[in-house]
């Protein structure tokens, strides 16, 4: 994969930021009913990476281009879309995997890693799918979907590892928690994208 130094630096900075958030969050215990529950703040970076690329207007440009006026905007948007400095979904996925691997190394627990990677990948898949159907004003919806699926993924992993289906009883409370934390972290990502994306092409 060829990438410019500018982009490589951006990806590295974001991964480092996500790792720091992840590590700090791992030290904090939330006094909730579900053991080991977290806000999922590190996901703000994943969401940011997913949405910092072409905006929703450019993402849906191919489906909405009708008429001459729209065609000219489509042309401009295609240029933005093809800009090599854009963070692709694959880049965002690599960042997530790097963060989870490094996080597990620093925390040093193999079970924590299994839950992180299962939840992380399922949550990421949900967010990558949602990215195609939400606008830049609805990133919080994407955050909620990601957080809920992340929690569902962790429950599935826990059920497989312990071989006990009773753990599924945690599902309702984890869905509720996922919606609340996901909307909040999604809002954070949405604000960051709205503030930073306009300055993206000014060097």
């Amino acid at each position: 994969m060829r990438m410019t130094i500018k982009k490589m630096t951006l990806l590295a900075t974001l991964t480092a930021a996500a790792l720091v958030i992840f590590m700090v969050e791992a030290q904090i215990d939330l006094p909730f009913i579900v053991p080991g529950m977290k806000l999922g703040l590190a996901n703000t970076i994943t969401l940011f990476a997913l949405f910092y690329g072409p905006g929703s207007a450019a993402r849906s440009a191919t489906s909405t281009s009708t008429g001459a006026a729209a065609n000219t905007t489509t042309g401009a948007n295609t240029n933005i879309k093809n800009n090599t400095d854009n963070i692709t979904t694959a880049n965002a996925l690599l960042m997530l995997i790097a963060r989870i691997l490094l996080g597990a190394l620093f925390i040093g627990r193999i079970t924590a890693f299994i839950y992180s990677i299962t939840g992380g990948l399922i949550g990421f898949a949900a967010q990558a799918a949602m990215k195609k159907i939400v606008t830049d004003k609805q990133i919080w919806v994407c955050g909620a979907a990601g957080a809920v699926m992340h929690n569902v993924g962790q429950i599935l992993a826990a059920m497989l590892i312990t071989g006990t289906s009773a753990i599924a009883a945690y599902l309702p409370i984890l869905i509720i928690a996922g919606i609340i934390t996901g909307v909040l972290t999604g809002m954070v990502a949405q604000l960051a994208v709205a503030r930073l994306a306009p300055h993206k092409y000014s060097t």
């Binding site: 312990t162 071989g163 006990t164 309702p172 919606i179």
Partner: protein
């Protein structure tokens, strides 16, 4: 692209469904506590037949958990895992939400009324 209202309705619907499921699951009362280690049933405690509180220790290759039992309730009092989520969960007396110690593969779940059928057959 859907409207924001559409997404709010979807999320609120999911929220309401989960709250209903959560409330329904809480209502169950349990008589029997089942202690599983890595999916294997190792201890079966009749919660209604406990006269004196006692503790016991479960040792596996993953680590050690100390479990305390009282009439109608059970808890993990000590564990040598790093996060101690199971210890923080405290006393649990009823409901379908189990005590789980993920690092040690330990699960304490509850079963209503008498011994569960599958174990009766297995014995």
């Amino acid at each position: 692209m859907k409207t924001t209202g559409f997404w709010i309705i979807i999320l609120c619907g999911l929220l309401v469904l989960s709250v209903i499921a959560f409330i329904l699951l809480k209502r169950d009362t349990a008589d029997v506590a089942l202690v599983y280690s890595d999916g294997v049933l190792i201890e079966q405690i009749d919660m209604t037949a406990i006269s004196e509180p006692y503790t016991f220790t479960i040792e596996t290759t993953h680590g050690t958990n100390t479990i305390a039992v009282e009439r109608g309730r059970i808890r993990v009092v000590d564990a040598d895992c790093p996060d101690k989520s199971c210890v923080k969960q405290g006393w649990v007396g009823s409901g379908v939400v189990p005590i789980v110690c993920l690092p040690h593969g330990l699960v304490i779940e509850f079963s209503g009324g008498g011994a569960p059928e599958i174990d009766a057959i297995a014995r």
